[in-house]
Symmetry: C2
Subunit: 312 residues, 2 copies
């Protein structure tokens, strides 16, 4: 997995997802200090909050880290100005890479774009990105409309571009990291596992709840707006009931309202909040809330173990 | 992958899916002759048709083959009587393994059950099956309600039982076979790739259509009845339109009507038929309709290639 480690100057090709309400300076710096690439999640920060997190992150680690920016962010100009002043790695998602990639690269920033299809990967390559994250259906939070799973997406994207490829969605163990490598990925992006660490800024209730989920407890919903993988709770029950009777976009928007994700993930309102986590949560069932260092050690050891098992 | 090859007495741990309207004696015997395990698909055969296919399959191969039986089959008693008289390998799906597993095993039959969750895998183990197929969300045709993808399902089932484990869903290449092995599978079941071979009894129009699908062209629908992965066409557009406005079970049943799958897959009515194929079809884009022998060779060579690439 050499192109990814050399692109970012990191030890392990493990990139932390820039999940909303989880990915502050504590999480990002811990991942970077442990040899991965930490990402600050700009999606849930005001511009000045982001600047503050970047500065704290610089103080907390001498290793590289980056910022994840959803391209539909309302104050995108302001955010972009801040990131070029403060960091040199940006992951962009949820939007077209055509507008910002060149601007960022002219300013010396390494740009990675998150895609859910080989068609989008080709567009990202045309836009000049340095690498792509291909994120499958099993990922938490916002997700592609085509519902292509990581197993089917990796070889498709691998065949469509020559860019360094980072696999995301359903990867929470060293074993899955090795499977991703077999499928053509040179690195992995891990959201769920890091969202549930001690250093994540998610509420402890949310972390504990997600560490008790079983298969089938997350579901991709709100497809009429933007598909998002949600954990079962009162709020999701209401979404499912509305969708079952054919709720319109407007009706779903009213139900979704503002601040649901903050309410659920950051404030720990497990019933009325929007709880976003990936399918891989079921593979963490019964675990304690670990530190990033423990997770990184399990990932690298698990990868080595899977590799040894294969050679037998 | 030794437990699977020794369980069935086959050369490669590659099992052909028993897909409806594709899996007659020509396909099953070709797969068995090429060193895999062919399966006749009882789901789309009258009992006497099945007996005829079993006898023709015996005439066409000296190698082991089996029968796939959906347990909600209407004349299940009759089918079970025929299979114990004629074969000694049965794959059961779409129903509880508790009722028939013991009865089949008393009669010397090797029984494998298809599951979509670790909970169902444990039930299959309790029922006394010899192995399980764990089939992920990306698979064609009928599918589990929990939508767990192959990447997340394999380690979950691997952790839940000690049974030999066969991975299914999204596997159409040797590379994916190796990824499945990394995730704990000892063999694979391949549907989509074999459904589109020359020996498959599906209509040529269907095969050609499926070899031109791209990512996102299949979708899991009809979740209010039984979830099924469908290819885009007029019929599916009608299903999606009905579901978008909250169609009830009864309304969906009327739309589905009888014989839609036969119409689409066997008679080649690409617009009004129900076309079932897996997500992996997009990885076969632009291929010709190959023979089973060609597919088996590509699978085994691809596996070897992926293995060599990993060792580099």
């Amino acid at each position: 997995m050499n192109r990814i480690t050399s692109l970012f100057g990191i030890r392990y090709p493990i990139i932390q997802g820039g999940m909303v309400w989880c990915s502050g300076w504590r999480l990002a710096s811990a991942v970077s200090n442990a040899g991965g690439l930490g990402l600050l999640g700009a999606g849930s920060m005001h511009p000045e909050t982001l600047r503050e997190h970047i500065r704290k992150c610089h103080a907390a680690t001498h290793n590289p880290f980056g910022v994840n920016i959803p391209l539909m962010y309302p104050q995108i100009e302001e955010i972009m100005q801040i990131v070029v002043e403060e960091v040199n790695i940006v992951f962009t998602s949820a939007g077209s890479p055509a507008k910002w990639t060149g601007w960022l690269k002219e300013r010396g920033v390494t740009v990675v774009h998150v895609v859910s299809s080989s068609r989008f990967a080709m567009k990202a390559e045309e836009a000049g990105v340095d690498a792509v994250v291909a994120e499958g259906f099993e990922a938490g939070g916002h997700n592609g409309r085509e519902e292509t799973t990581t197993l089917c997406l990796m070889p498709a994207v691998r065949a469509a571009t020559t860019l360094p490829l980072i696999a995301a969605g359903g990867i929470a163990t060293g074993e899955a990291m090795l499977a991703a490598r077999v499928l053509g990925a040179e690195g992995v992006q891990i959201g769920t596992r890091f969202a549930l660490t001690q250093e994540s800024s998610a509420h402890e209730y949310f972390k504990e709840y997600c560490l008790r989920l079983q298969e089938g407890d997350t579901r991709l919903l709100l497809k009429k707006l933007a598909p998002v993988r949600l954990v079962r709770n009162n709020f999701r029950d209401a979404v499912e009931a509305a969708e079952a009777v054919g709720a319109t976009q407007d009706e779903l928007r009213i139900l979704l309202a503002h601040g649901r994700a903050k309410k659920g993930i950051f404030y720990g309102d497990l019933e009325e909040g929007e709880l976003e986590i990936g399918q891989a949560s079921a593979l963490l069932y019964g675990k304690q809330i670990e530190t990033v260092a423990e997770v990184m050690q399990e990932l690298t050891e698990g990868y080595r173990r899977a590799w040894d098992a294969l050679k037998e």
